[in-house]
């Protein structure tokens, strides 16, 4: 093995750690700490296609690089769309970028939500907080290919009404055919919010779907997974039909740096989307 691989000419190996230059085309302030950036590739080369579930490594000049999911699917040459929440120094630097400013992009990396496996089925999307961003492309795709899927249920939990993303789009989803939208918040005053207060799994208990023919896609804080799985079980949804997106520290995004290991998996390469049974026992291990 070593002798054959080592004789490959090193000059033919593309440097996978080198970003390409992109420019902010549009910046939408979603909430106090979250923005959606639309990014256009600088120069002649075409942007790579990004599928729902995948992520790019976004590089803020001189500050650092972080993995950010695509919040819209894009074809080859189309602008990339990322929703970024300011939680650390790099994400804060990215969230400060204004139209016309540049950043580096590597990607896309990771696998995709297995939506194609659920054609003709009901689709349940459960998002917590910023977890709606990686799931928005799933909802959009179902709505674009409306006839290919059954009932669509979107359940979304946020900390506070002021932290809800994509407000206008949520209203469009609510008005879409054969679609149920449930939004709940953890805390509120009674003046600003007339909707449900409580946790997302409660919405699942009341949602309409056919458990045998449903794909459930879940992205949110890891703490949310078990309560949602528990409700799914109560509704007799087979757990092989539950797909979760996981997160760990990530430096290289190509399975070389070691940081994102989760048991046998490299989340960057084998994930970020996993069928729940594949990670169920790992999720029970603390500090894994």
């Amino acid at each position: 093995m070593s002798s054959t691989t080592a004789t490959n000419s090193p000059t033919t190996v593309r440097e996978p750690m080198l970003p390409s230059t992109y420019r902010v085309l549009r910046r939408e302030q979603e909430t106090a700490d979250t923005v959606t950036l639309t990014l256009e590739r600088d120069g002649e080369a075409l942007a790579a296609a990004c599928e729902p579930g995948q992520f790019n490594m976004l590089y803020a000049f001189g500050v650092g690089e972080v993995p950010i999911s695509v919040s819209a699917a894009s074809d080859v040459g189309e602008p990339l769309v990322h929703t970024i929440r300011s939680v650390g120094k790099t994400s804060a630097a990215l969230a400060r970028l204004k139209p016309g400013q540049s950043l580096g992009v590597r990607g896309p990396f990771g696998n995709v939500w297995p939506l194609d496996d659920y054609e003709g089925h009901d689709i349940v999307v459960i998002a917590g907080g910023i977890g709606l961003a990686p799931l928005r492309p799933v909802v959009r795709r179902v709505l674009e290919r409306r006839a290919s899927f059954g009932h669509l249920v979107v359940l979304y939990g946020a900390r506070h009404p002021s932290e809800l993303l994509y407000l206008e789009e949520l209203e469009r989803w609510r008005a879409s055919p054969d679609t149920t939208l449930g939004i709940t918040v953890d805390r509120t005053t009674g003046v600003e919010w007339m909707g449900p207060v409580g946790i997302v799994p409660r919405l699942l208990a009341r949602a309409r779907f056919d458990p045998i023919e449903t794909g459930l896609f879940l992205c949110g804080p890891e703490v949310m997974i078990e309560p949602c799985v528990r409700e799914a079980l109560t509704r007799k949804l087979p757990l092989e039909q539950v797909h979760v997106s996981l997160e760990r520290n990530m430096h290289c995004a190509i399975g070389l740096c070691g940081h994102c290991q989760f048991g046998p998996h490299f989340i960057c390469r084998d994930g970020p989307v996993f069928a729940y049974p594949d990670v169920e026992s790992l999720l029970r291990v603390r500090e894994l």
């Binding site: 700490d33 929440r85 300011s86 939680v87 650390g88 917590g128 907080g129 910023i130 939990g157 946020a158 900390r159 932290e163 953890d186 805390r187 509120t188 005053t189 009674g190 003046v191 919010w193 007339m194 909707g195 449900p196 207060v197 409580g198 946790i199 409660r202 009341r206 949110g220 804080p221 703490v223 949310m224 309560p227």
Partner: protein, 155 residues
């Protein structure tokens, strides 16, 4: 308007699986109530003398802070139930309940219910199982909300 409430009571999901005979036995405690949007159903410290089974509309459980106004801790949807302070002394409401939108509910008299539970322990057990389930769900829910899981920035 006089109405036979038995089918209405039977239709409420809380009583799913309860034998018809026991539903009939309970119906005497029930009355039909309506609330306008914004109307208080009960307030913290009120006597807890009724058990509400929500049939339509959304109801919030809340408290009030002089500076921040009403603080909502939970909301209830049709098919859910409201209140268990009526089960335990001193029978005082712990939280306030308000109809967020126009709401309809069955209100069951607490003394009447407690008396019937004593009289028919199998009914008392069936009801406690249902209340226990609700309590358990609410406790899990409250714990998760307490964790503030969506607030995950670097501290």
């Amino acid at each position: 308007m006089i109405q036979d409430l038995e089918p209405v009571v039977r239709a409420h999901p809380f009583f799913d699986g309860l034998p018809d005979e026991l539903v009939k036995f309970l119906t005497g405690c029930a009355r039909n109530v309506r609330f306008d949007a914004g109307q208080m159903i009960f307030r913290q410290g009120d006597p807890a003398d009724e058990f509400f089974l929500l049939r339509a509309g959304r109801v919030s459980l809340e408290t009030h802070d002089p500076a921040r106004g009403p603080l909502v801790v939970h909301t209830l949807e049709p098919g859910e139930v409201l209140g268990w302070s009526w089960l335990f002394p001193p029978y005082r409401c712990y939280w306030s309940a308000r109809a967020v939108e126009r709401a309809r509910a069955l209100a069951m008299d607490a003394r009447c219910l407690r008396r019937k539970f004593e009289e028919r322990p199998e009914l008392g057990y069936a009801m406690m199982l249902r209340v226990g389930r609700v309590l358990s769900d609410r406790l899990h829910s409250a714990r998760l909300q307490m964790l503030d899981v969506f607030h995950d920035g670097d501290k």
